[in-house]
């Protein structure tokens, strides 16, 4: 009885009793959710155009952020360092396409998936050789990202919104809008979508597979850089960030592997729900740290009802 009360009554009483705290929890959840969504977005783009489940997206985030900080440490002004990082990400995209993807065209999904894990390992070793393993500070101020916070007082309580987080949300929003515009209104973008719809048909109308793949991996690299800056300015840049990339997997599954909307909605949903669950149920009742598995179990539950994820394309199987 006591237990049922703790599960079904107390948490909601707590929520109502301290609405400002609830708002803070939801806000923190949204901010993590935005970052999960950004990582997932990189996955989705690559998956749509090449059916590759790109495990390396997480490490690309770290790699991009480290390159940026590393370039700046060499004395290059912040914004030129950003441009330089974009150049590095382009080189990476080109190399990956040339060295790894091209020889593996047409292989089973799992082989390509494995190949991206190989890329991940390579990037970890390569990144640590060049940049070292220390935790580095993101060049937040140099990039002109505001620090500090807004303090609001809803319901007579306290709600702290970090400028960095607000900026991250805004930039992520702009990025998504830009991306959707690119995919819908430019020639290149439409080619990317065509390739996602039907490889053979796209090839037959003269869309170059190679160019599009390089482009898509480059865009994923740009998204990785934005994610890296956003997350890095909250917690510093180090290879420990890579672990967070696992969170993008349930986001993807929940949203549906092909859907940009899915990645965003999935990310926000998981970010908020896992935070609420941890604070109101996990920590008091289960000993805490439920964030490590909640997202996966949630995604699994949703998939049981919708095997293609919330926004995924319906899977039609023919014999």
């Amino acid at each position: 009885m006591e237990l049922l009360r703790n599960i079904f009554v107390t948490p909601f009483v707590d929520m109502v009793a301290a609405p400002d705290f609830l708002m803070q929890v939801v806000w923190e959840g949204l901010v993590s959710g935005v970052l999960y969504a950004l990582i997932a977005l990189g996955f989705v783009l690559i998956f749509r155009s090449s059916r590759i489940f790109n495990f390396a997206q997480g490490i690309m985030v770290v790699f991009a952020a480290l390159t940026l900080v590393g370039l700046h440490e060499m004395g290059i002004p912040a914004w030129i360092a950003v441009a330089g990082t974009l150049g590095v990400m382009f080189a990476l995209a080109w190399t990956v396409e040339r060295v790894v993807l091209r020889p593996l065209v047409g292989q089973p999904d799992i082989i390509l998936f494995m190949a991206t894990i190989g890329i991940t390992l390579f990037l970890i070793g390569f990144g640590e050789t060049i940049f070292g393993g220390e935790n580095k500070q993101m060049i937040t101020a140099e990039l002109g990202i505001p620090t500090g916070d807004f303090v609001l007082e809803p319901f007579g309580g306290l709600l702290i919104l970090q400028h960095i987080d607000v900026t991250a949300v805004v930039v992520a929003g702009l990025l998504v809008v830009g991306l959707v515009a690119f995919l819908n209104y430019t020639r290149m973008g439409r080619a990317v979508r065509a390739l996602g719809d039907d490889h053979q048909a796209a090839l037959s109308v003269g869309i170059s597979l190679q160019t599009i793949w390089v482009l898509v991996w480059f865009i994923a690299g740009v998204i990785a850089l934005v994610t890296g800056i956003a997350w890095g300015s909250r917690a510093g840049v180090s290879f420990a960030l890579e672990i967070i990339a696992y969170k993008a997997l349930p986001v993807l599954m929940l949203g549906g592997l092909e859907s940009i909307t899915g990645a965003i909605v999935g990310g926000l949903l998981i970010g908020v729900l896992e935070k609420l669950f941890e604070i109101y149920w996990g920590a008091p009742l289960l000993g805490g740290n439920t964030e490590s598995w909640f997202a996966f179990v949630l995604a699994l539950t949703v998939l049981l009802f919708r095997p293609q994820g919330l926004f995924g394309e319906k899977i039609i199987e023919r014999v």
Binding site: I160, Q162, A235, A283, G288
Partner: protein, 432 residues
Amino acid sequence: MHRFTTLAVAASLALGPATSVLAQEIYAPNLAYRTGPFASTGIPLMDGQADYMTLLNDRDGGIGGVTVDFEECETGYSTEKGVECYERTKSDAIVTQPWSTGITLQVLPQTNTDQIPILAPGYGFSPMQDGRVFQWAFNPPASYWEGHSMIAQAISDGDLDNLAGKKIAFLHLDHPFGKEPIPLWEAMAAEHGFELLPIPVGIPQMQNQSAQWLQIRRERPDFVVMQGWGAMNATALQEAAKTRYPMDQFVGIWWAGHDADLKLLGEEGTGYRSISWSIPQPDAPIMADLQQYVIGAGKSQAEDVNSVFYQRGLVISMILAEAIRTAQEIHGVAEIDGPMLRDGLANLNITDERLAELGMTGMVAPFATACNNHTGSAGAWMLRWDGEKFVQDSDLLQGDADLIAPLVEAAAAKYAEDNAPWPVDETCDPQS
């Protein structure tokens, strides 16, 4: 066909065990971790350790006329790699420095049969203090339980009863290392009537602790005590600043007092305290020698030689070097082996005079080990971040031996029982 030949060659790489032949050298490997999520705290420590040994080799020609081969074997803080390193080095090594609680636990039983002492300065697990059970393991100059006992004294202004009715959050890594101090805190909470709130941080959440800090904001604990490591510390400190948790109520163990982590915060971190059994002394004579023989000679990789962690690395190597010297004196042999070093580690006597001779006055408190006290219980100081660097904030504190000794004895006895038949040194008197 060609590619088959190349592959066949690649696949048939012969199995070759590594053996190294050493002459007139003491082989003291270090299972370092300069890679992986914990590298940020590992690198300065390993630099300090290596530089001290380089100094001894280059300035004094080693210890007692024998040079020290201070080779590093990279573990990345992974237990699996650590065990591989242990196996790789154990044939010639006189000591194992596992550098992780996981690796320590794993190799501990084997050191008994391999007769190689473990040196785990300020880590490993606290019951190792009981030298009757843990004959081959040493964790000088202070154990985690002692450290947390000192933290409790510092936050209660010397009398733990002041904590009655208060709430203390124990923010820890969800890992054997992080959970180590919980029994001690539970014992203290029961005795002195304060509420303990353990808050675990999973390794995947190290860099995303907003849930933990939201919980802290809701529970409003009077103090937050942190048992953190690697990337967890920097994130915790930033979240604390973000959620406006008062920094002077936030205290960390010695591994959570890394200058670089606090430099990220700067002014905002003012007031944060960390217990430490070492204090950086930029003006100590040894620093000048290091500058001359090691850093000036371009043999150092260190970036900030006045940081707490770098200088702690120096102290750690000093402890090992002094143990080697003691062993050489006891046995009258220059080229000592593992069992001889054990005698050295069990009979360490680091006095103020000795520290002065070494040019390390004030870098660590004097201490002595014995067969029934493998920790030495040097005590530690509270350091406070003043916005730019750590400064000493308290006199030398001592762990509460009356509280800790029975816990150590019980935990050690349980370990021996679980691993029966486990050899216990009956010639040594119990501590309490």
